[in-house]
Symmetry: C2
């Protein structure tokens, strides 16, 4: 099963376009959990066990694992190993470099860490992205318009009559297919999301920024106009339990509630 | 000593603006070296021992280590540990993400892996770069105009009267100082390098693309007009020995020759 097929079938089976971002931070875990690699693995496993029938995918943001050094990569690998095989795994790594280097990153993320897709930065152009697209059973989510305030600095600058993020979209749509190339479009820009969706009606959008970053589920779903999408929430779900002993149950409730909001908006 | 001071003093002491990129690939090592993590460490150490009095810095391209998974990170850490303390270490990682994520990447590269500087992608704007700049004793090399053919896709697109790479330069120069913020400018664009140097006379430029990628040392040095620079060569130096038993001596000769060419052009 390709990464695309896995995503589609998980969305159908779990009736969910929700993605949970496993942004692990030792100090944000409930205080009763040990601040250690083992403690973080225990936390991630509990979150996965309590939400895996409610999501289409998990997003692994590599930065949060890299910050713990070599043992952080062990945590990353064990976390990935504990995700059920039928759930799509996004490597949120924002990689991209000259050809031979992107090939090595692709090998790392797809072969070593067994992820189904990866986020890639477009700045360096086609030959920095194509090595990832060469894995025919995997997917790339290219940064288009990101959710952060810095998106105004370059992404929202005009190149001729189009914004840079529109130039990225137009040019890159020829590099792949709708089954292996999607886009990152932040939930914090509903107006732009609507217009990007019109330009790319069949492309998968990975939409972060709902919840902690302020994007509204209703606005996002409306703007997305039923296009193929993955809506990510990280902190709002995994830390929903605060210091509760049964924190994973609170994460489940938060995932249930967000899935419900998303599904109601989709109707 | 800050990363900047370390760079300046290594350049003076070794009379060199040369950087050697430790782009390790198991199958490119001499055939007598075991294709294993230990073999690659042995190779890296031999290259470092034979060149550390000839360089200002080593560049560690994270992709080449990540492709070997967790053990690749052990190799990365041990390689860094075997570089003499007075030589500047560049993490060529091309990271960049929303604020809390860039903070985690900065922690990984500066605190866990003890590098002196990092390459960062500008696409997501100021708040994706500033967490790296907050480490006052470290340096950032922001991608400006890269050496690959894909640089034409977006970097060389015009925003008003300026190219995107010029907009990146102009805007970002206010984010840091010449002591903590430099730029990646590919050796394959000497004409543009000259014009970028005029706009940023005192900024450090990390210039890759000499050698295997086709940039000429003389053209680069002339275009750079004696500005602060690091000229990187990776494959052209570390694999100079082919399958020779004494491969590290050939790497030393290649580094000596390139340093000489660079220094003669600088006069």
């Amino acid at each position: 099963m390709t990464g695309y097929e896995k995503l589609i079938s998980a969305e159908e089976r779990n009736n969910s376009i929700l993605c949970v971002g496993l942004d692990i931070v030792a100090d944000r875990m409930p205080t009763h959990i040990e601040r250690s690699i083992d403690g973080m693995l225990q936390f991630n496993k509990a979150i996965i066990n309590s939400t895996s029938d409610l999501v289409s995918s998990y997003k692994i943001n590599f930065a949060f694992y890299e910050q713990y050094g070599i043992r952080g990569f062990e945590l990353l690998k064990k976390t990935i190993d504990s995700i059920p095989k039928e759930i799509h795994i996004i490597a949120d790594a924002k990689r991209g470099d000259i050809g031979n280097t992107s090939r090595a990153y692709a090998k790392a993320v797809f072969e070593e860490f067994k992820c189904d897709s990866i986020t890639v930065s477009p700045y360096m152009g086609e030959d920095s992205v194509s090595p990832f697209l060469r894995y025919e059973d995997k997917m790339v989510f290219l940064l288009c318009l990101t959710s952060n305030s810095g998106s105004k600095d370059f992404e929202k600058q005009k190149i001729g009559s189009d914004y840079l993020y529109e130039v990225v979209l137009k040019k890159s749509m020829k590099w792949g297919t709708t089954q292996n190339l999607g886009y990152v479009v932040g939930a914090t820009h509903p107006k732009e999301l609507k217009s990007i969706r019109e330009k790319a009606p069949n492309s998968f959008f990975l939409i972060p920024g709902v919840g902690a970053q302020g994007g509204s589920p209703y606005d996002v779903i409306t703007a997305n106009n039923n296009g193929p999408a993955i809506i990510n929430s990280s902190r709002g779900i995994i830390y929903a339990g605060g210091n509760e002993l049964k924190y994973a149950e609170f994460s489940r409730l938060a995932a249930l509630e967000l899935r419900k909001q998303l599904n109601e908006s989709r109707m």
